[in-house]
Protein backbone atom coordinates (compact mmCIF):
# COMPACT_ATOMS: atom_id res chain seq x y z
CA UNK A 1 0.00 0.00 0.00
CA UNK A 2 1.44 3.36 -0.94
CA UNK A 3 2.15 5.35 2.18
CA UNK A 4 3.23 8.81 3.11
CA UNK A 5 6.77 9.03 4.40
CA UNK A 6 8.26 12.28 5.62
CA UNK A 7 5.69 14.17 3.65
CA UNK A 8 6.50 12.46 0.38
CA UNK A 9 4.91 9.47 -1.24
CA UNK A 10 7.23 6.54 -0.87
CA UNK A 11 5.79 4.83 -3.90
CA UNK A 12 4.08 6.05 -7.02
CA UNK A 13 0.55 4.84 -7.03
CA UNK A 14 0.12 4.02 -10.64
CA UNK A 15 0.73 1.03 -12.71
CA UNK A 16 0.83 1.67 -16.41
CA UNK A 17 -0.85 -1.61 -17.30
CA UNK A 18 -4.02 0.31 -18.07
CA UNK A 19 -2.54 3.35 -19.79
CA UNK A 20 -4.03 3.93 -23.22
CA UNK A 21 -3.09 7.37 -24.53
CA UNK A 22 0.38 8.40 -25.57
CA UNK A 23 2.11 10.98 -27.76
CA UNK A 24 5.48 11.65 -29.35
CA UNK A 25 8.39 13.69 -28.04
CA UNK A 26 11.90 14.31 -29.30
CA UNK A 27 15.04 14.35 -27.17
CA UNK A 28 18.54 15.48 -28.14
CA UNK A 29 20.19 17.07 -31.18
CA UNK A 30 19.50 15.74 -33.73
CA UNK A 31 16.21 14.66 -32.26
CA UNK A 32 15.50 11.11 -31.17
CA UNK A 33 11.82 10.20 -31.08
CA UNK A 34 10.02 8.56 -28.17
CA UNK A 35 6.42 7.83 -27.34
CA UNK A 36 5.41 8.77 -23.82
CA UNK A 37 2.42 8.81 -21.54
CA UNK A 38 1.63 12.44 -20.69
CA UNK A 39 0.90 11.79 -17.04
CA UNK A 40 -0.65 14.39 -14.73
CA UNK A 41 -0.10 11.95 -11.84
CA UNK A 42 3.70 12.16 -11.81
CA UNK A 43 6.39 14.76 -12.43
CA UNK A 44 9.36 12.97 -13.96
CA UNK A 45 10.42 12.40 -17.55
CA UNK A 46 12.19 9.18 -18.36
CA UNK A 47 12.95 7.14 -21.46
CA UNK A 48 14.95 3.93 -21.89
CA UNK A 49 18.70 4.26 -22.30
CA UNK A 50 20.69 2.55 -25.00
CA UNK A 51 22.72 1.03 -22.14
CA UNK A 52 19.64 -0.74 -20.77
CA UNK A 53 19.67 -4.47 -21.45
CA UNK A 54 16.37 -5.35 -19.78
CA UNK A 55 13.88 -7.15 -21.98
CA UNK A 56 11.52 -4.17 -21.77
CA UNK A 57 14.21 -1.85 -23.15
CA UNK A 58 15.05 -4.19 -26.00
CA UNK A 59 11.51 -3.78 -27.27
CA UNK A 60 11.47 0.02 -27.09
CA UNK A 61 13.29 2.98 -28.55
CA UNK A 62 16.35 3.85 -26.47
CA UNK A 63 18.14 7.14 -26.00
CA UNK A 64 21.66 7.32 -27.43
CA UNK A 65 23.36 10.08 -25.47
CA UNK A 66 26.60 9.88 -27.48
CA UNK A 67 24.71 10.84 -30.65
CA UNK A 68 23.32 14.06 -29.16
CA UNK A 69 25.41 17.24 -29.36
CA UNK A 70 23.21 18.97 -26.75
CA UNK A 71 23.43 16.15 -24.17
CA UNK A 72 24.62 17.12 -20.68
CA UNK A 73 25.80 14.39 -18.35
CA UNK A 74 24.45 14.54 -14.80
CA UNK A 75 25.61 11.32 -13.21
CA UNK A 76 23.14 11.12 -10.37
CA UNK A 77 21.11 7.94 -10.05
CA UNK A 78 17.36 7.79 -9.84
CA UNK A 79 14.81 5.11 -9.16
CA UNK A 80 11.06 5.16 -9.58
CA UNK A 81 8.65 2.64 -8.13
CA UNK A 82 5.35 2.22 -9.89
CA UNK A 83 2.52 0.00 -8.79
CA UNK A 84 3.44 -2.72 -11.27
CA UNK A 85 7.04 -2.04 -12.05
CA UNK A 86 10.12 -0.16 -11.09
CA UNK A 87 13.13 1.19 -12.87
CA UNK A 88 16.59 2.50 -12.14
CA UNK A 89 18.70 4.84 -14.18
CA UNK A 90 20.88 7.89 -14.45
CA UNK A 91 19.90 11.49 -14.81
CA UNK A 92 20.74 13.72 -17.75
CA UNK A 93 19.84 16.98 -19.44
CA UNK A 94 19.10 17.57 -23.06
CA UNK A 95 16.92 19.49 -25.47
CA UNK A 96 13.31 18.34 -25.47
CA UNK A 97 10.81 19.01 -28.23
CA UNK A 98 7.10 18.50 -27.72
CA UNK A 99 4.66 19.43 -30.45
CA UNK A 100 7.26 21.58 -32.17
CA UNK A 101 8.15 23.57 -29.05
CA UNK A 102 11.71 23.37 -27.77
CA UNK A 103 12.62 23.17 -24.08
CA UNK A 104 16.33 23.55 -23.35
CA UNK A 105 18.22 21.66 -20.64
CA UNK A 106 15.33 19.44 -19.67
CA UNK A 107 16.22 17.13 -16.78
CA UNK A 108 15.23 13.57 -17.49
CA UNK A 109 16.04 10.03 -16.55
CA UNK A 110 17.71 7.49 -18.77
CA UNK A 111 16.41 4.18 -17.58
CA UNK A 112 19.09 1.50 -17.57
CA UNK A 113 17.24 -1.19 -15.67
CA UNK A 114 13.58 -2.11 -16.12
CA UNK A 115 13.21 -5.50 -14.47
CA UNK A 116 10.16 -7.69 -14.68
CA UNK A 117 7.56 -7.76 -17.39
CA UNK A 118 5.68 -4.58 -16.50
CA UNK A 119 7.02 -2.47 -19.35
CA UNK A 120 7.68 -5.25 -21.85
CA UNK A 121 4.32 -5.04 -23.59
CA UNK A 122 3.87 -1.30 -23.19
CA UNK A 123 3.30 0.57 -26.46
CA UNK A 124 4.98 3.63 -25.00
CA UNK A 125 8.70 4.07 -24.38
CA UNK A 126 8.57 6.31 -21.31
CA UNK A 127 6.58 8.69 -19.19
CA UNK A 128 6.41 12.49 -19.15
CA UNK A 129 5.06 13.75 -15.84
CA UNK A 130 2.96 16.90 -15.69
CA UNK A 131 2.21 17.21 -11.97
CA UNK A 132 3.81 19.71 -9.57
CA UNK A 133 7.59 19.70 -8.89
CA UNK A 134 7.09 18.40 -5.33
CA UNK A 135 6.12 15.04 -6.76
CA UNK A 136 9.33 14.63 -8.76
CA UNK A 137 11.77 11.86 -7.94
CA UNK A 138 14.31 13.37 -10.28
CA UNK A 139 15.76 16.62 -9.01
CA UNK A 140 15.09 19.49 -11.35
CA UNK A 141 12.20 21.13 -13.06
CA UNK A 142 9.45 19.04 -14.60
CA UNK A 143 8.74 19.63 -18.27
CA UNK A 144 5.90 22.16 -17.92
CA UNK A 145 7.80 24.11 -15.26
CA UNK A 146 10.64 24.51 -17.74
CA UNK A 147 8.18 25.59 -20.40
CA UNK A 148 6.90 28.28 -18.03
CA UNK A 149 10.40 29.37 -16.99
CA UNK A 150 11.61 29.55 -20.58
CA UNK A 151 8.39 31.32 -21.57
CA UNK A 152 7.60 28.96 -24.42
CA UNK A 153 3.90 29.15 -23.52
CA UNK A 154 1.86 32.34 -23.22
CA UNK A 155 -0.59 30.93 -20.71
CA UNK A 156 0.50 28.64 -17.89
CA UNK A 157 -2.20 26.19 -18.86
CA UNK A 158 -2.44 22.81 -20.54
CA UNK A 159 -5.51 20.77 -21.33
CA UNK A 160 -6.44 17.25 -22.34
CA UNK A 161 -9.04 16.01 -24.76
CA UNK A 162 -9.37 12.23 -24.64
CA UNK A 163 -11.72 10.54 -27.07
CA UNK A 164 -13.17 7.15 -26.28
CA UNK A 165 -14.88 6.72 -29.64
CA UNK A 166 -12.06 5.79 -31.99
CA UNK A 167 -14.33 5.30 -34.99
CA UNK A 168 -15.33 8.95 -35.32
CA UNK A 169 -13.45 11.56 -37.33
CA UNK A 170 -12.21 13.31 -34.21
CA UNK A 171 -8.67 12.80 -32.95
CA UNK A 172 -8.14 9.97 -30.48
CA UNK A 173 -6.81 12.49 -28.05
CA UNK A 174 -5.03 15.79 -27.86
CA UNK A 175 -2.82 17.59 -25.37
CA UNK A 176 -2.88 21.35 -25.74
CA UNK A 177 0.02 23.27 -24.24
CA UNK A 178 -0.57 26.92 -23.47
CA UNK A 179 -4.35 27.00 -23.49
CA UNK A 180 -7.61 25.36 -24.47
CA UNK A 181 -9.58 24.79 -27.64
CA UNK A 182 -13.25 25.75 -27.36
CA UNK A 183 -14.08 23.40 -30.22
CA UNK A 184 -13.24 20.46 -27.99
CA UNK A 185 -15.70 21.18 -25.18
CA UNK A 186 -19.12 22.65 -24.63
CA UNK A 187 -20.67 24.65 -21.85
CA UNK A 188 -18.95 26.66 -19.17
CA UNK A 189 -15.72 25.59 -17.48
CA UNK A 190 -16.08 24.69 -13.83
CA UNK A 191 -12.90 25.80 -12.04
CA UNK A 192 -11.75 23.91 -8.93
CA UNK A 193 -8.86 25.14 -6.78
CA UNK A 194 -5.91 22.81 -6.25
CA UNK A 195 -5.93 21.80 -2.59
CA UNK A 196 -2.42 20.32 -2.42
CA UNK A 197 0.29 21.07 -4.96
CA UNK A 198 1.69 17.64 -5.66
CA UNK A 199 -0.79 15.74 -7.75
CA UNK A 200 -3.52 17.83 -9.39
CA UNK A 201 -5.56 17.44 -6.24
CA UNK A 202 -9.01 18.95 -5.77
CA UNK A 203 -11.91 18.73 -3.33
CA UNK A 204 -14.75 16.43 -4.29
CA UNK A 205 -18.11 17.19 -2.67
CA UNK A 206 -19.67 13.73 -2.91
CA UNK A 207 -20.20 10.61 -4.99
CA UNK A 208 -23.77 9.50 -5.62
CA UNK A 209 -25.19 6.34 -7.14
CA UNK A 210 -28.53 6.86 -8.89
CA UNK A 211 -28.98 10.11 -7.03
CA UNK A 212 -28.36 8.64 -3.59
CA UNK A 213 -25.49 10.32 -1.79
CA UNK A 214 -23.61 7.10 -1.17
CA UNK A 215 -19.95 7.96 -0.70
CA UNK A 216 -17.80 10.85 0.47
CA UNK A 217 -20.87 12.58 1.98
CA UNK A 218 -18.86 15.25 3.78
CA UNK A 219 -16.41 15.86 0.98
CA UNK A 220 -13.12 14.17 0.15
CA UNK A 221 -9.99 14.67 -1.92
CA UNK A 222 -9.58 13.60 -5.55
CA UNK A 223 -6.79 13.82 -8.07
CA UNK A 224 -7.23 14.33 -11.80
CA UNK A 225 -4.89 11.87 -13.46
CA UNK A 226 -4.32 11.19 -17.15
CA UNK A 227 -1.86 8.42 -16.30
CA UNK A 228 -4.41 5.96 -15.05
CA UNK A 229 -7.37 4.65 -16.95
CA UNK A 230 -9.99 3.84 -14.33
CA UNK A 231 -11.70 5.71 -11.52
CA UNK A 232 -10.22 4.67 -8.21
CA UNK A 233 -11.23 5.18 -4.63
CA UNK A 234 -10.89 3.80 -1.11
CA UNK A 235 -11.39 0.03 -0.93
CA UNK A 236 -14.46 0.10 1.30
CA UNK A 237 -16.23 2.63 -0.88
CA UNK A 238 -15.31 0.95 -4.15
CA UNK A 239 -16.41 -2.50 -2.94
CA UNK A 240 -19.81 -1.04 -2.01
CA UNK A 241 -19.95 0.79 -5.33
CA UNK A 242 -19.22 -2.44 -7.24
CA UNK A 243 -22.13 -4.07 -5.40
CA UNK A 244 -24.44 -1.18 -6.26
CA UNK A 245 -23.65 -1.47 -9.96
CA UNK A 246 -23.88 -5.27 -9.85
CA UNK A 247 -20.25 -5.98 -10.59
CA UNK A 248 -18.84 -9.38 -9.58
CA UNK A 249 -15.21 -9.94 -8.57
CA UNK A 250 -12.95 -12.28 -10.54
CA UNK A 251 -10.06 -14.25 -9.06
CA UNK A 252 -7.56 -11.70 -10.36
CA UNK A 253 -9.16 -8.72 -8.69
CA UNK A 254 -11.14 -7.31 -11.58
CA UNK A 255 -14.89 -6.70 -11.54
CA UNK A 256 -17.15 -8.00 -14.30
CA UNK A 257 -20.60 -6.79 -15.22
CA UNK A 258 -23.22 -8.68 -17.20
CA UNK A 259 -23.26 -6.83 -20.54
CA UNK A 260 -26.95 -7.61 -21.00
CA UNK A 261 -27.80 -5.58 -17.91
CA UNK A 262 -25.92 -2.42 -18.88
CA UNK A 263 -28.97 -0.33 -19.71
CA UNK A 264 -30.52 -1.02 -16.31
CA UNK A 265 -27.47 -0.06 -14.23
CA UNK A 266 -27.47 3.11 -12.12
CA UNK A 267 -25.76 6.36 -13.00
CA UNK A 268 -22.78 7.38 -10.90
CA UNK A 269 -22.45 11.08 -10.16
CA UNK A 270 -19.38 12.93 -8.93
CA UNK A 271 -20.08 16.34 -7.44
CA UNK A 272 -17.19 18.76 -7.87
CA UNK A 273 -17.42 22.41 -6.99
CA UNK A 274 -21.17 22.08 -6.63
CA UNK A 275 -21.58 20.77 -10.18
CA UNK A 276 -22.69 17.23 -10.99
CA UNK A 277 -20.62 15.05 -13.33
CA UNK A 278 -22.71 12.03 -14.17
CA UNK A 279 -21.47 8.86 -15.85
CA UNK A 280 -23.92 6.40 -17.34
CA UNK A 281 -23.18 2.68 -17.29
CA UNK A 282 -22.13 2.87 -20.95
CA UNK A 283 -19.55 5.43 -19.85
CA UNK A 284 -18.17 3.76 -16.72
CA UNK A 285 -18.04 0.25 -18.15
CA UNK A 286 -15.11 -0.78 -20.33
CA UNK A 287 -15.85 -3.29 -23.06
CA UNK A 288 -13.22 -5.72 -24.28
CA UNK A 289 -13.37 -8.59 -26.71
CA UNK A 290 -12.05 -11.92 -25.50
CA UNK A 291 -12.10 -14.14 -28.57
CA UNK A 292 -15.64 -13.80 -29.86
CA UNK A 293 -17.01 -12.92 -26.43
CA UNK A 294 -17.58 -9.39 -25.19
CA UNK A 295 -16.45 -8.65 -21.65
CA UNK A 296 -17.85 -5.77 -19.65
CA UNK A 297 -15.43 -4.60 -16.97
CA UNK A 298 -16.19 -2.15 -14.20
CA UNK A 299 -14.42 1.17 -14.61
CA UNK A 300 -13.95 1.44 -10.85
CA UNK A 301 -10.92 0.21 -8.98
CA UNK A 302 -9.99 0.03 -5.30
CA UNK A 303 -6.77 1.85 -4.44
CA UNK A 304 -5.93 3.05 -0.94
CA UNK A 305 -3.90 6.22 -0.89
CA UNK A 306 -3.88 7.83 2.50
CA UNK A 307 -2.93 11.49 2.73
CA UNK A 308 -3.13 14.01 5.58
CA UNK A 309 -6.31 15.33 3.93
CA UNK A 310 -7.87 11.87 3.87
CA UNK A 311 -8.05 9.04 1.34
CA UNK A 312 -7.78 10.02 -2.31
CA UNK A 313 -10.09 9.27 -5.19
CA UNK A 314 -8.53 9.17 -8.67
CA UNK A 315 -10.38 10.49 -11.69
CA UNK A 316 -8.68 8.71 -14.58
CA UNK A 317 -9.44 8.21 -18.26
CA UNK A 318 -12.90 6.74 -17.64
CA UNK A 319 -13.84 10.17 -16.27
CA UNK A 320 -11.61 12.27 -18.51
CA UNK A 321 -12.95 10.83 -21.78
CA UNK A 322 -16.28 12.41 -20.90
CA UNK A 323 -14.96 15.67 -19.50
CA UNK A 324 -12.37 17.99 -21.04
CA UNK A 325 -9.77 18.79 -18.39
CA UNK A 326 -7.76 21.98 -18.00
CA UNK A 327 -4.72 22.28 -15.74
CA UNK A 328 -3.88 25.84 -14.78
CA UNK A 329 -0.49 26.32 -13.14
CA UNK A 330 -0.90 30.11 -13.19
CA UNK A 331 -3.86 30.07 -10.85
CA UNK A 332 -3.43 26.55 -9.41
CA UNK A 333 -6.79 25.24 -10.46
CA UNK A 334 -8.36 22.48 -12.52
CA UNK A 335 -11.11 23.20 -15.02
CA UNK A 336 -13.67 20.69 -16.24
CA UNK A 337 -16.16 20.96 -19.09
CA UNK A 338 -18.21 18.51 -21.13
CA UNK A 339 -15.95 17.03 -23.83
Amino acid sequence: TPSLRLGRYSEKIYNYMDAQYYGEITLGTPGQNFSVIFDTGSSDLWVPSTYCVSQACALHRRFRAFESSSFRHDGRMFGINYGSGHLLGVMARDTLKVGGVTVLNQEFGESVYEPGAAFVMAKFDGVLGMAYPSLAEILGNPFFDNMMTQKTVEEKVFSFYLNRKTSSGNPQGELLLGGTDEALYSGPINWLPVTAKGYWQIKMDSVAVQGMNSFCPNGCQAIVDTGTSLIAGPTNDILSLQQLIGASPTNIGEYLIDCVRLSSLPHVTFVLGGKEYTLTSEQYVRKEMLGDRELCLSGFQAVDIITPAGPLWILGDVFLTEFYSIFDRGQDRVGLATA
Partner: protein, 46 residues
Protein backbone atom coordinates in the same frame (compact mmCIF):
# COMPACT_ATOMS: atom_id res chain seq x y z
CA UNK B 1 0.54 30.26 -29.25
CA UNK B 2 -1.27 26.99 -28.67
CA UNK B 3 0.85 23.85 -29.03
CA UNK B 4 -1.10 20.78 -30.09
CA UNK B 5 0.20 17.31 -29.33
CA UNK B 6 -1.84 14.50 -30.90
CA UNK B 7 -2.43 11.54 -28.62
CA UNK B 8 -2.91 8.02 -29.85
CA UNK B 9 -5.19 5.55 -28.13
CA UNK B 10 -3.94 1.99 -28.01
CA UNK B 11 -4.96 -1.19 -26.28
CA UNK B 12 -3.65 -1.29 -22.74
CA UNK B 13 -1.09 -3.84 -21.60
CA UNK B 14 -3.79 -5.44 -19.48
CA UNK B 15 -6.04 -5.76 -22.48
CA UNK B 16 -3.29 -7.30 -24.61
CA UNK B 17 -2.40 -9.78 -21.88
CA UNK B 18 -6.04 -10.72 -21.47
CA UNK B 19 -6.49 -11.24 -25.21
CA UNK B 20 -3.41 -13.47 -25.26
CA UNK B 21 -4.65 -15.45 -22.24
CA UNK B 22 -1.64 -14.31 -20.21
CA UNK B 23 -3.17 -11.87 -17.75
CA UNK B 24 -3.67 -14.26 -14.86
CA UNK B 25 -0.16 -15.66 -15.24
CA UNK B 26 1.28 -12.15 -15.41
CA UNK B 27 -0.51 -11.01 -12.28
CA UNK B 28 0.45 -14.17 -10.44
CA UNK B 29 4.05 -14.64 -11.53
CA UNK B 30 5.41 -11.34 -12.71
CA UNK B 31 4.64 -9.01 -9.87
CA UNK B 32 7.59 -6.67 -9.59
CA UNK B 33 7.00 -6.26 -5.88
CA UNK B 34 7.80 -9.97 -5.54
CA UNK B 35 11.12 -9.26 -7.26
CA UNK B 36 11.73 -6.31 -4.94
CA UNK B 37 11.12 -8.41 -1.85
CA UNK B 38 13.39 -11.21 -3.03
CA UNK B 39 16.24 -8.95 -4.12
CA UNK B 40 15.73 -6.09 -1.69
CA UNK B 41 19.21 -6.62 -0.24
CA UNK B 42 20.75 -5.93 -3.66
CA UNK B 43 19.47 -2.36 -3.80
CA UNK B 44 21.43 0.50 -2.30
CA UNK B 45 20.18 1.79 1.06
CA UNK B 46 17.16 4.03 0.65
Amino acid sequence: ALVRVPLKRVRSVRSQLRADGLLQEFLTDHRPDMFSRRYAQCFPPG
